[in-house]
């Protein structure tokens, strides 16, 4: 059974600081990695994805992947109160279902981030 682990938090960070969110996964064959943001009462929205080892930057967000350690992280620079949300890590494995192609994600339970003004 594939597992994706996240610290549930809450993680409290002062406004303007760097928020660091971490995720580990059990399936060494996992191919791609996603970070979703979910505001209370809303559905998840994709904010970052990463496929290769190293860093990927998009604005204030940086995703970091280390496949050898089975570890993926999300850094949020210059944190804003509007960044307060639950962040879900999701992993797509290398499995193939009959007929091929379907690729449901395995989600972590999410980290609740609070940015303190």
């Amino acid at each position: 059974q594939k597992e994706v682990e996240q610290n549930s938090g809450p993680l409290s960070v002062p406004e303007g600081a760097i928020a660091s969110l971490n995720c580990t996964y059990s399936d060494r064959g996992s191919q791609s990695f996603f970070w979703y943001r979910q505001y209370s009462g809303k559905s998840p929205e994709l904010i970052m994805f990463i496929y290769s080892n190293g860093d990927k930057e998009d604005g204030r967000f940086t995703a970091q992947l280390n496949k050898a350690s089975q570890y993926v992280s999300l850094l949020i620079r210059d944190s804003q109160p509007s960044d307060s949300a639950t962040y879900l890590c999701a992993v797509r494995g290398a499995f193939l279902y009959s007929g091929g192609g379907a690729d449901g994600l395995t989600f972590g339970k999410g980290t609740h981030l609070i940015i303190q003004p």
């Binding site: 994709l46 192609g101 379907a102 449901g104 395995t106």
Partner: protein, 111 residues
């Protein structure tokens, strides 16, 4: 913009009722998914479909069935609703290997 819509935002049903949750996407995606989300348990995959009339069980299919008669529509059916099926239900769609999009969710309460 991709749009995934769900038939209801809030639904209240009684134990034993048959419940239909509908999901429609407008981007011609092959893949469609049904998840439920519960506090402390996160998002769990119920069923998914990779083509019309094709379906595969996810991690927690018990008590649920699905139907995909048209590419754009994926229905989740609770044959006989029970209180432990009270949850937030999220539909998603995607092309294979490409980012998925979630619908707004249906909060189902079974009394």
């Amino acid at each position: 913009d991709v749009k995934v819509t769900q038939s209801s935002r809030y639904l209240v049903k009684r134990t034993g009722e048959k419940v239909f949750l509908e999901c429609v996407q407008d981007m011609d995606h092959e893949n469609m998914f049904w998840y439920r989300q519960d506090p402390g348990l996160g998002l769990r995959l119920i069923y998914f479909s990779y083509d019309v009339k094709m379906k595969e069980k996810g991690d927690i299919p018990e008590g649920y069935s699905v139907s995909r008669e048209k590419k754009e529509r994926f229905s989740l059916i609770l044959e006989s609703a029970s209180t432990n099926q009270t949850s937030m239900y999220l539909c998603a769609s995607s092309f294979p290997g490409i980012r998925g999009f979630f619908g707004p969710g249906t909060r189902l309460t079974v009394l």
